[in-house]
């Protein structure tokens, strides 16, 4: 990849923010800087933050912005090489042996018989790709160690074939919810960024862009309540995804603004509060207090 010229680079972060906004993602300056850096230094991005703050959405927006395919690898405990990187197409190899009995081992272990899984697919994509390695903290440590080669050199070693290098370096985004601490080796290969909850202005912009039909008063009220809730001592604080769900629910119920009557919003609270304890703790009194405290 060619580095952006210094004349262009001055405005690149601003332009990147605009591009991402057009793709429906409102990045703050620090996050846009990280994306710019990742492009310039050809390094993966490791995003850490609470669930629902927009870590995964960044990859989708970046894919739209760069006009590259988004390849997603969802990590889980027990994820192995065959699920993540590649697998030999044994059925096809057998068929080849039947059709051509003279086929040798060298003929059978070629790219034609290789089933590319997300990691390999991202590396071999001719026009480049955006690779999202989602919730990497859920994968095992052994898999994390395997990622080191892929993320630092953008290459993959296949014993039967050799080493495959990426023609176009993929944009890689790793996300983590912090359920397990990642190894220092992986962290050092990435550009690290903590995605925080958006400030009220940015959250309003995101909600308005996501649901343009919603009344502005409703959007503002939802933002106010959700921002207030994030300061409360909840087990699971509502993220951006939750506030968007709540806004959608209220909008579909025909509300133009947040009703004062708690019973009317009680039905929709399941969009916002995701644990039994939080639902129990957030009653009419808490709602009233929240409204009074945050100036409704």
């Amino acid at each position: 990849m060619n580095a952006p010229s210094p004349q262009m680079a001055g405005s690149t972060i601003g332009l990147l923010r605009e591009d991402l906004a057009r793709a429906g993602y409102f990045a703050d300056e620090s996050l846009a800087s990280v994306v710019w850096l990742a492009e310039h230094l050809e390094r993966p991005i490791l995003l850490e933050g609470e669930a629902g703050v927009g870590k995964t959405a960044l990859a989708a927006a970046l894919s739209k912005t760069l006009n590259r395919p988004l390849i997603r690898l969802q990590c889980f405990e027990g994820l192995d090489l065959a699920d993540a990187a590649y697998e030999w197409n044994v059925a096809r190899q057998l068929m080849a042996i039947r059709l051509k009995p003279e086929a040798t081992e060298a003929n059978l272990y070629t790219r034609d018989y290789l089933l590319a899984k997300p990691l390999l697919a991202a590396i071999t994509q001719p026009e480049g790709a955006v690779l999202l390695i989602d919730e990497v903290d859920r994968a095992d440590e052994a898999f994390e160690a395997y990622l080191l080669e892929v993320l630092s050199e953008f290459q993959m070693s296949i014993p039967e074939l050799g080493t495959l290098h990426a023609n176009v370096v993929p944009r890689v985004i790793l996300t983590s919810n912090g359920t397990r601490s990642l190894s220092d080796a992986l962290r050092r290969r990435c550009l690290f960024h903590v995605v925080e909850y958006p400030d009220p202005f940015r959250e309003r912009c995101i909600l308005q862009a996501s649901l343009p039909d919603a009344d502005i008063r409703l959007v503002e009220s939802v933002v106010t309540v959700v921002q207030g809730l994030r300061n409360e001592d909840l087990q699971k604080r509502p993220g951006l995804a939750e506030s968007l769900d709540w806004l959608r629910a209220l909008h579909h119920c025909g509300h133009k603004e947040l009703p004062d009557d708690f019973t009317q919003i009680h039905q929709t609270l399941s969009c916002l509060l995701k644990t039994r304890e939080d639902r129990f703790a957030f009653g009419p009194d808490s709602y009233r207090q929240l409204q009074e405290r945050y100036g409704r």
């Binding site: 001055g10 800087s33 850096l37 310039h40 230094l41 057998l94 601490s181 690290f192 960024h193």
Partner: protein, 391 residues
């Protein structure tokens, strides 16, 4: 700092060293990246540099939080040197001339008052107590009905520095790595397995139209040891419970240990361990403060294994008890409960907050059922105990 101002490599290297001394993991790669950024982009403000260098230098959330302060301390020391944070009302600043004038006014006022009193010849006792009255006025601190006692989470003895918590987590990580994994009765497919997985082999063969037999192997599934921490938060443990709970928190964060506190009965606080907010710290401090009227260790252990179906005790379970061993139940009851756990294959380790092992009758009676008695009166002893723990 303008764009024309040079960023000499030596200063950037020195900044890297400074960060390394502050606990950041900065190597040649990071320093090279700092310079690459400077060459790639005409940077006009220090804020821009700070934003662009942050993702390169920071590798954890703690780094992320400390970054801005460290950056400014190095590149703009004049902005940070000698500044203090103040809270509440501050007195307006005065220059020397104002101070002299005020001192003169004060002197003249006191001399006038003295003259007045001597002239009147009054010997009213209350005159002498005039100043005492002003002294007895409530101070600004105690006004407004607010408590003069600091919030629990503001107390120095309860506050832990991030570096202390980091050390605990590092210790927990080391222990976690050393903890053996036990083989379960369940099987899992593995290329390193030694037993043929007949079902999967046949299925795979069927998917290849029975043309070939590709053996699939399996081996016993290994699962990590489940750690349960039981912390005594009774009055006699008030001074030590903070260490035990912080340790529990570190083990919960690193390896998902389940944490219980007990006084008369056990209460699970695992959920509280997940969050790192002052409110949670307040709650943790609250459970460690002010309990009295006896400790029920044996009853708590019985409640844990009998009335909590979610807690399973088997040979994969390791129970760590943080307690001084003073039990108000009959002395043989603790031994009975621990024997019950031993029979189920549970290994019990006991961390005591004193230099000598507990001498209570209950503890003495239960000594044979406890795998190891380990001192944990401070971080150093806790560390050495954990490092010497047999697995």
């Amino acid at each position: 700092m303008g764009a024309d101002l040079a960023w000499p490599s030596e200063r950037v290297l020195a900044f890297g060293l400074f960060l390394r001394e502050s606990g950041f993991q900065i190597g040649p790669q990071e320093q090279r990246d700092f310079l690459r950024v400077l060459h790639a982009k005409p940077l006009t403000t220090l804020g821009e540099v700070q934003l662009l260098w942050r993702p390169i230098a920071c590798h954890s959330k703690r780094d992320h939080m400390a970054w801005q302060d460290l950056f400014l301390r190095f590149w703009e020391p004049h902005r940070t040197r000698g500044t203090t944070k103040v809270s509440g009302q501050t007195k307006p600043s005065r220059n020397l001339q104002q101070r002299v004038e005020q001192a003169k006014a004060h002197d003249s006022q006191t001399s006038q008052q003295a003259n007045k009193h001597s002239a009147s010849g009054q010997t009213d006792a209350r005159c002498g107590t005039g100043e005492d009255d002003t002294e007895k006025k409530p101070s600004e601190r105690s006004m407004g009905g607010a408590s003069t006692v600091d919030a629990l989470h503001d107390r120095e003895s309860q506050m832990w520095m991030p570096s202390d918590l980091n050390s605990l987590e590092q210790l927990a990580r080391g222990i976690h790595r050393r903890l053996p994994q036990t083989r379960t009765r369940r099987w899992q497919s593995s290329i390193h397995g030694l037993k043929l997985d007949g079902r999967r082999t046949l299925r795979k063969s069927a998917s290849l139209l029975g043309d070939s037999l590709i053996p699939c192997w399996k081996r016993r599934r290994r699962e990590p040891i489940e750690l349960i921490l039981l912390n005594d938060v009774s009055r006699s443990m008030e001074a030590h419970a903070a260490l035990a709970l912080r340790t529990s928190r570190a083990f919960h964060r690193v390896m998902g240990a389940r944490v219980f506190v007990f006084h008369l009965r056990p209460i699970e606080v695992t959920d509280l361990m997940r969050r790192d907010t002052p409110a949670v710290q307040e709650r943790i401090n609250a459970v460690t403060a002010g309990f009295q009227s006896g400790t029920r260790i044996a009853d708590s252990i019985r409640a844990l294994h009998s009335h909590r179906p979610s807690v399973s005790f088997n040979r994969r379970t390791r129970l760590w008890i943080f307690s001084d061993g003073f039990d108000t139940a009959p002395s043989d009851q603790l031994a009975c409960e621990l024997q019950y756990l031993n029979d189920k294959g549970v290994k019990v380790d006991w961390f005591y907050p004193t230099r000598q092992a507990p001498t209570s009758q209950a503890a003495k009676a239960a000594s044979a059922m406890v795998s190891e008695w380990l001192p944990a009166h401070d971080f150093v002893s806790l560390r050495s105990s954990l490092l010497n723990l047999a697995f």
